[in-house]
């Protein structure tokens, strides 16, 4: 590298700038490792089998505050639910954007702009939006009855939270999935078409299977987003720490569970943090550690699958 000036001495601006870039990068990496290390340091003490397998109790005593089984299950339900909501729409939109749309029509531009704006909507806005929309009485099937009488719905349940979260993660999944579909080599499509396949058959039998690693990446990224969001869950899942029904593990209660309020790991952390009402920081750190392991695992899987598919495409 030519850090030297013509005279052969290092250029001062060069040295300062380069050093700054190194320091900035080191600082960012340090902060990231510090956060993870701090969570491990503070949270690993709280984690044991009881913590993972008992339900939370509303108690000011840390010994009686119970564990994180309900929030953990809640996070799982929410992830699955939001993916169920988002996946069909996202794949459909991604296929349409990548395969059917002319690149420069006003229609394409409008749809893309809409998706970009949707991606930029803050999750807290989705939260109040969802809470308010789903209190309309026609949505009574999705959550418990409203407190004020029969003309409203409660507006807070796993179903509502899943729908709202699905909308929140939708544009991100579309974006990654569309890239994946676009990166399928043209020769594959040409081969399929040359064999007489119709366009849709080509997409279904050739393009989508080839793009599947990228689509998996998209879904896993969406799962990470759903697991990590707090604002939507806090507003549309009721901000409690337990399920609405006591024996929620009983399959006969599952419909009621889905229609009822609950907790996820994020709201559990928020609730138990010094900022919340539960005020059990030890529990909060334990749950945060579990949460971050979960979210980072999702992200690492996405990165790994993404890189593998990128390499496969290059070969």
């Amino acid at each position: 590298m030519s850090d030297m000036s013509i005279k052969g001495r290092p250029h001062p601006a060069s040295v300062v700038g380069t050093t700054f870039a190194w320091v900035a990068a080191a600082l960012v990496a340090t902060v990231c490792f510090f956060i993870i290390g701090f969570l491990v340091y503070q949270g690993s003490g709280a984690i044991n089998w009881t913590f993972l397998t008992t339900d939370p109790q509303a108690s000011l005593m840390a010994e009686q505050a119970g564990g994180i089984r309900v929030p953990f299950v809640g996070t799982a339900i929410l992830i699955l639910g939001s993916i169920l909501v988002a996946f069909p729409l996202a794949i459909g939109a991604a296929v349409y954007l990548a395969e059917y749309m002319a690149d420069d029509s006003w229609f394409t531009r409008t749809v893309r702009l809409g998706l970009e704006v949707l991606a930029s909507v803050p999750s807290v806005v989705f939260g109040v939006f969802g809470l308010s929309v789903f209190t309309f009485s026609i949505f009574q099937g999705l959550s418990a009855q409203g407190a004020q009488g029969a003309d409203t719905a409660f507006g807070r349940s796993f179903i509502v939270a899943s729908i709202v979260m699905g909308i929140h993660i939708l544009p991100f999944i579309i974006k990654v999935a569309e890239e994946a579909i676009r990166s399928v080599p043209k020769s594959l499509r040409q081969g399929a078409l040359a064999l007489g396949m119709t366009k849709w058959r080509t997409i279904r039998r050739v393009v989508l299977p080839s793009a599947s690693p990228g689509i998996v990446t998209a879904v896993v990224l969406g799962m990470g987003l759903a697991a990590g969001d707090t604002a939507i869950v806090w507003l549309t899942l009721g901000g409690s720490i337990n399920m609405a029904v006591d024996n929620w593990w009983n399959p006969s209660q599952w419909v009621e569970v889905l229609r009822g309020t609950g907790a996820t790991l994020t709201t559990y952390v928020y609730f138990n943090s010094p900022a919340g009402e539960g005020n059990a920081p030890g529990m909060a750190f334990g749950a945060a550690l579990v949460l971050i392991v979960l979210v980072l695992a999702f992200n690492l899987i996405a990165v790994y699958v993404g890189r593998r598919s990128a390499n496969a495409g290059r070969r």
């Binding site: 700038g17 990231c32 349409y96 704006v117 499509r189 007489g196 119709t198 806090w234 952390v269 909060a284």
Partner: protein, 380 residues
């Protein structure tokens, strides 16, 4: 429709899909898009025409008729959702904007007003000025910090880092982007807030600033936490933008005797400027919408920081942002119509800021891509 459009330019057109003999060819602007690059074997037009007609015939299966419509519906619904969200939020916010007028953004006293509304006061009016300023200050501060740090980090990743550091560092940046906001809030509350309280807050703070208790949970804490939350989004976009600058630009600079650093600051950064701006704007949009972490570390008091006691105390004063006000008050309180509408008014302001920022980001990206000679809005 088949005979128009010369085959030669179409063959060079890499961006078009090879099998774009689409079900709806009339919608296409350029009929040439229906030529397959592998159609070169058919050197006479009638043969080509025959081949495509055959494909069209095969295409008339029910699934090939229905699927494009279903897929288009998915795309339109996905993109149309945002219109519904905007409309719904605006409609809910309307009563507040009508009754408060410009007082909503020019007057303060939010916390007391909400308390009054919750305890059933007869006349309620809302002033969200402290929340708006709180959002503005924290976001601007965080954008500044992440601009400086993130630019250094992006330059390092794109240009300076040895390969063995670059890959892991990129993963680290992605990890940072994946850390949930509540975790940022928790760590900020456990580390940053006590640190500010113990080491930065002067001992005689209570005598200097008398109207509000200063306890570490402050704008400064909010800015620090927020900047590391939005930094990865800026770094990712900035790194890509810097990398997209053609090697020949840099080689030209080096050939003229520029140092490596000078080519970065004088060639790469100016050329990548629209991309950098886009990244910064995206980061700002995330900062504006951040609710949970700021509600935990920034003090959660609707207070307008002032410079009366100097810039340090300005940073050490508590703030409450629009997004965190929504998440803190939202819920049961929204059953009171006025409170609900006031929260929706905040949500509407947030939404408008996000829309404007994302449109600016899109313009910047378009500008950047055009500058880089990329067609049809996609990076190569």
């Amino acid at each position: 429709m088949i005979l128009t459009g010369g085959p030669i330019p179409a063959l060079r057109d890499e961006e078009h899909h090879p099998f774009a003999a689409a079900p709806k060819p009339k919608d296409r602007e350029t009929p040439m898009s229906m030529t397959d690059p592998n159609d070169t074997a058919s050197d006479t037009l009638p043969l080509r025409a025959q081949a495509i007609d055959l494909k069209d015939a095969v295409g008339r299966r029910s699934s090939d008729r229905i699927m494009p419509i279903l897929l288009a519906a998915a795309a339109v619904i996905s993109a149309g959702l945002v219109a519904f969200v905007v409309f719904f939020v605006a409609q809910k916010a309307w009563p507040t904007f009508v009754s408060e007028g410009h007082h909503f953004v020019t007057h303060g006293g939010w916390d007391g007003q909400i308390e009054g509304a919750l305890s059933g006061a007869a006349t309620i009016f809302f002033g969200a000025k402290p929340l708006i300023l709180g959002t503005l200050y924290t976001t601007a501060g965080a954008v500044l910090v992440s601009l400086v740090l993130g630019l250094g980090c992006a330059i390092f990743i794109a240009e300076l880092a040895p390969a063995w550091i670059r890959r892991p560092l990129e993963t680290v940046v992605q990890l940072l982007a994946g850390i949930p906001s509540v975790v940022f809030g928790l760590v900020g509350l456990a580390v940053v807030v006590p640190f500010i309280n113990n080491f930065i807050l002067p001992g005689n703070a209570a005598d200097v600033v008398t109207d509000i208790p200063l306890e570490g949970a402050s704008m400064l804490a909010g800015i620090l936490v927020l900047s590391f939350m939005i930094l990865p989004f800026f770094v990712t976009v900035a790194t890509d933008s810097l990398r997209a600058i053609p090697r020949s630009y840099i080689d030209g600079g080096l050939a003229l005797g520029m140092t490596r650093w000078r080519t970065i600051t004088r060639i790469q950064m100016p050329s990548a400027a629209p991309g950098l701006v886009a990244g910064l704007v995206l980061a700002a949009a995330r900062g504006v919408g951040e609710a949970i972490a700021l509600s935990m570390v920034a003090g959660a008091i609707a207070y307008v920081p002032n410079m009366n006691s100097g810039p340090l105390y300005f940073l050490l004063m508590p703030v409450r942002t629009m997004a965190s006000a929504i998440v803190e008050i939202g819920g049961e309180a929204m059953n009171i119509p006025q409170v609900g509408s006031a929260l929706f008014a905040l949500a509407f302001l947030l939404l408008m800021i996000s829309v404007v920022l994302s449109v600016i980001a899109r313009w910047s990206f378009t500008l950047f891509n055009r500058r880089m000679g990329v067609v049809s809005g996609r990076k190569v």
